[in-house]
């Protein structure tokens, strides 16, 4: 034991001499996180980060066997699920983790929104966060097609069709995504490229910026907490308290993930066939379902304009308003209370929940 401590200190000294570890430890010791009743929401950013790491590791493992071509994609995923040792688990974990990650990012975003974490001086953190959410959803959309099964094929067709309705840029984007007029093997190769190279690259850049900004500016304090007298502001040390709490939640998430992956293994379905008719009940992933359902409800024509066009414009405006909330929410940034902002947030949550449920219930 004594020897162990001695050795440890020797190693520490060696490293400290070279990398000034003591400075880092002092910094960590001083770092604290505000403690208030909503602290729980702070952990979801970390959960999303954990799940991203799970995605990277499981994704790399899948890459060892996956083949991103029309002829082999389905067969390679089938091979992974049935023949590769623990392949079934890795694929299932990758699929479940993707969904849990998008869910965590959503929760993280709404918590930041309601705790007004986006206000000055953290506007850029918000924007990078919005970017990370968009890339997470794009990860999901592109990854969904990769097993090249029937459901994914037709869901991608419908999804890209909607993109094609975007005014002016829709058609070129549609062709860019599909690699042609239709969803074909070219689309699969493209989505594979996006999924394993382009999106991870952008995601890592945005994530690095996001984390650096948080590190640089510290964690945002909610308005109520911020206005408390200095002696009433409770904090908890980042190390070890907050880190241990985060670790505790991570372990719970890992447990949930393992249970989901083992008890509800992700199905593969049947291989995509471009010449077969679309199966009944084609639905996108749940995080696109509310948008999909709204489009289904839209009439063919609204005020002499095509229904889908109006839908896309309204969604576009809504998403833009949401994304640029630091710009139009002047009141909060000046320290005031902006109830419209809260109501808008509640409305968006109810809207998403209601239409997602409708999407699941209705055919």
């Amino acid at each position: 034991m004594e020897n162990g401590k001695k050795n440890k200190s020797k190693v520490f000294k060696w490293l400290d001499e070279r990398y000034n570890l003591s400075g880092l430890i002092d910094f960590a010791k001083k770092k604290s996180v505000p403690k208030f009743r909503e602290t729980i929401w702070y952990y979801f950013g970390g959960v999303a980060l954990l799940l991203f790491v799970v995605q990277v590791i499981s994704g790399i493992l899948l890459l060892m066997y996956y083949k991103g071509t029309e002829d082999l994609a389905f067969e390679s995923v089938y091979f992974i699920s049935t023949k590769v040792s623990f392949g079934w688990l890795i694929r299932s974990v990758h699929s479940w983790s993707a969904n849990l990650m998008v869910l965590s990012v959503f929760i993280h975003m709404f918590s930041v929104y309601f705790l007004k974490g986006f206000r000055k001086p953290r506007e850029l953190t918000w924007y990078t966060g919005i970017g990370l959410l968009a890339i997470s959803m794009a990860f999901g959309f592109s990854g969904y097609l990769l097993p090249w099964n029937e459901l994914a094929f037709f869901a991608t067709k419908v999804g890209t069709d909607i993109v094609g309705e975007v005014p002016l840029v829709g058609e070129p984007i549609l062709k860019l995504l599909r690699g042609g007029e239709d969803v074909t093997g070219a689309t699969l190769s493209r989505f594979f490229g996006f999924h394993v190279a382009i999106f991870p690259g952008i995601f890592v850049i945005l994530l690095t910026l996001h984390l650096l900004m948080i590190q640089r500016q510290g964690i945002a304090e909610p308005e109520d907490y911020k206005n408390l007298p200095a002696n009433e502001k409770k904090t908890i040390p980042f190390f070890p308290n907050f880190a241990m709490r985060e670790l505790l939640i991570w372990l719970i998430v890992i447990n949930i993930l393992a249970i989901l992956a083992v008890f509800f293994p992700w199905e593969l379905g049947t291989k995509a066939d471009a010449f077969s008719s679309a199966p009944v009940g084609i639905k996108p992933e749940w995080y696109f379902l509310f948008m999909f359902q709204v489009f289904k409800f839209l009439p063919g024509e609204i005020l002499f304009l095509p229904g889908e066009f109006v839908g896309i414009v309204l969604f576009g405006i809504g998403i833009l308003l949401w994304a640029i909330v630091p710009v139009w929410d002047r009141k909060t940034s000046k320290g005031g209370k902006n109830t419209i902002l809260t109501y808008f947030g509640i409305f968006v949550i109810i809207f998403i929940i209601v239409f997602t449920i409708l999407g699941f219930i209705l055919d």
Partner: protein, 487 residues
């Protein structure tokens, strides 16, 4: 133009007939004069059915049969047409034979659909030289000496019809003009058949060409309207062979048709429309129909059941059956009432057919082999279904066992092959065959069991990892509380 000629001929003939009818009782000057001239046709016509019924020469040739003046009698004005041209000569017959009223007037009850039937038959197709249909009325019934069909002197009397049909159908030179692929040995074969031999003895009961192929309405054999189309043959044969009165004369049973209809072959052919299933003629022959002999039964069945025949011929049964005059396939499977062969046919207990000859009493080798074969088949079937249950269970647990399930399908093939191998009645050969099935089943079973084990391994693995992670969570929680209490 054709229609005009036809219309003219019809009108002329009708007028001739009418005048003839009106003057029916008057003397036929044409016949009288031509007979005096020692004309061959007139001599023949004396015994012709038409002559006896009062149809005069003018009835077919036109002209005025009452006029003694040749110029008048054979004038165009009187409708004389001379020898009807080949192309349209059938019209002469059709004029009366397709008209029910006319036929009644001549005192005949003959049907009047002959021409309608002939029109749709293969024989009515245009001849190669475009001289009318290949076959018309005269081709078969001749002219001037036409007799009642039931008159033994008739050209179409049952004992004569074979020769009549053979005039064309036995001539390779003639037949190749119309259907070079059609054999020309039907008459020769027929003469070797039981039907043909009876027919040659002048027995009109025996089936001849018309009995099976029909007369005016003959269609190509491959036409489903043909009386001898595969699915029609059983009922055609049964026309005579189910006639108890007729068959009693020849001491032939009449249950063949009923048995055949409920046999595996009859059901396949008549209910499922499977034309590859044998009909009467496939075993008995058609033109050369005879009951297959005892020695040739396996050859006859072997035309379809090739492997079974080959195996049987190598089997110890072949010699024993030959020595005892046992009909080969028929001894176990029956003849007209061949039922779907089941695994129950083999073995040492009823309804196995093996025990008809083999018994346990004298430690009979055949009895032992039969028992062993049955045991092996039953065992493979049982293990196959047990393995299916295991694979189903693995599938229900979400495990992929599709490869094993697919390979298990081959067991069915092995069973089929083993059932065929039984015909060699060689236990070693049979074991070699059926062992392939056991190998397949064992492999699939192991895969299924491994999949189920894997399923539980996953569950246990998950359980252990969940416990470990949960313990870590609890540990961390207490550690955290400790740290936070200190603070």
């Amino acid at each position: 133009m054709k229609n005009k000629i036809k219309y003219f001929l019809n009108s002329a003939l009708f007028l001739i007939m009418l005048s003839n009818f009106v003057n029916g009782q008057s003397e036929d000057q044409c016949f009288k004069c031509h007979l005096e001239l020692d004309d061959a046709e007139s001599k023949l016509f004396k015994t012709d059915i038409h002559f006896t019924k009062g149809v005069s020469c003018a009835g077919c040739h036109g002209g005025d049969a009452t006029s003694e003046d040749m110029e008048v009698a054979m004038s165009k004005e009187k409708g004389f047409i001379g020898v009807p041209i080949r192309k349209d000569r059938y019209q002469v017959c059709v004029n009366c034979h397709s008209d029910e009223n006319k036929m009644k007037r001549w005192g005949s009850n003959l049907p009047t659909d002959q021409y309608e039937n002939l029109k749709v038959s293969i024989h009515y197709q245009p001849s190669f030289n475009q001289q009318g249909p290949i076959v018309d009325c005269i081709t078969c019934h001749s002219v001037h000496d036409i007799k009642r069909v039931k008159d033994p002197a008739s050209k179409v009397y049952p004992t004569k019809i074979t020769a009549l049909c053979g005039d064309c159908h036995s001539s390779a030179e003639f037949m190749r003009r119309y259907n070079p692929a059609l054999p020309v040995d039907q008459v020769a074969k027929y003469r070797t058949s039981t039907h043909g031999m009876l027919n040659a003895k002048g027995n009109p009961d025996a089936a001849e060409c018309v009995s099976c192929h029909g007369s005016h309405e003959i269609q190509p054999v491959k036409d489903s309207r043909s009386l001898v189309y595969a699915t029609n043959i059983p009922s055609v044969c049964s026309n005579c062979h189910s006639d108890a009165k007729l068959m009693a004369k020849y001491k032939i049973p009449t249950d063949q048709y009923d048995n055949y209809v409920s046999s595996v072959h009859g059901i396949a052919l008549l209910e499922k429309g499977d034309l590859s299933s044998p009909s009467c003629n496939d075993c008995h022959g058609n033109h050369g129909a005879v009951p297959p002999g005892v020695e040739s039964i396996s050859k006859v069945c072997g035309t379809c059941h090739v492997l079974n025949m080959e195996l049987f011929e190598q089997s110890p049964h072949k010699k024993a059956f030959d020595e005892n005059d046992f009909p080969e396939c028929e001894s176990c499977h029956g003849n007209h009432l061949v039922k779907q062969a089941t695994d129950e046919m083999v073995g040492t207990q009823k309804p196995a057919v093996c025990i008809d000859c083999h018994s346990a009493d004298d430690d009979n080798k055949g009895f032992v082999v039969a028992g062993e074969m049955k045991k092996l088949i039953d065992s493979l079937k049982t293990r196959d279904s047990q393995t299916k249950v295991i694979l189903d269970e693995a599938g229900q647990k979400g495990m992929d066992v599709s490869d094993a399930a697919f390979s298990l399908k081959d067991v069915r093939q092995v069973l089929i092959q083993s059932r065929t191998t039984i015909h060699a009645f060689n236990l070693d050969k049979f074991k070699e065959q059926i062992d392939e099935g056991f190998t397949l089943v064992n492999k699939a079973k192991i895969t299924g069991e491994e999949a189920i084990d894997e399923f539980y391994f996953r569950r246990i693995g998950l359980g252990i990892s969940t416990i470990v992670v949960t313990l870590l969570v609890i540990g961390l929680y207490f550690k955290l509380r400790k740290i936070e209490k200190k603070a």
